[in-house]
Symmetry: C2
DNA sequence: TTGTTTCATTGCAATATTACGATAATAATT
DNA sequence: AATTATTATCGTAATATTGCAATGAAACAA
């Protein structure tokens, strides 16, 4: 098959999985960490930062954008990418809530 | 190719990506949320909870275990799975730190 | 207009993932 | 020993992902 059965899971489960899947690759983690490090927005110098060819970086950026992790704004002939605060807040509160739930319960096994 | 160039990224970047990749599937999110919901550890009734066949669930459990998200303890002929607190704490602090960094900086674009 | 810069898209090959039926393996039960 | 319960593994098919060379598109500069 190879086809995820998304229709059997809740909207939130799919949303969470989509966001985390987008971050589930070291190159995309590196891109996000780079975007976090540079104070202002950047665009194509992500290519200079990573050991990957330009089309590969472009594809990773597309996936991050589709998932909602980053935003891209056109500025002349360059494109300015930046992190989407909302998405990261969503993930952060997801794990925050999860941990408070865990701490309420006894450890098992 | 289809082969991730992990050797070009840092150990932490690879670790983070591995953890998030394991959670990047709605079935595995559902498994984790189920493990969070049931007070004590469970084993094979995850199969009854999800709309997936037993081998598929077993495979997802294996991936979660390999990534370090869950632990499995043998109890007689059953296996008791439970969440690995440490892994979730790692992820939580990763995004916590990221957000505090974001809040320090001005929004772009 | 011609070139330059910047980025996306196409097309392809190699590999990974997802899902399941069938089967095996292990431990308790009868 | 035979049965049952529980879970893992194997094998296979369909699809997705990763990566890059080549090419295209859009904006700017000369």
């Amino acid at each position: 098959m190879g086809l995820t059965k998304s229709e059997f899971f809740t909207e939130n489960q799919n949303k969470t999985a989509t966001l985390l899947k987008a971050l589930g690759h070291p190159a995309r983690i590196a891109i996000v960490e780079y975007l976090l490090r540079v104070k202002t927005c950047i665009c194509g110098d992500i290519v200079n930062e990573l050991p990957l060819a330009q089309p590969t970086v472009s594809q990773h950026l597309k996936e991050l954008k589709n998932a909602g992790i980053i935003k891209g704004n056109i500025e002349g002939n360059a494109i300015c990418y930046c992190l989407d605060e909302g998405a990261l807040e969503y993930i952060n509160s997801y794990f925050g809530n999860m941990l408070t739930e865990i701490y309420k319960k006894s450890t098992c096994c």
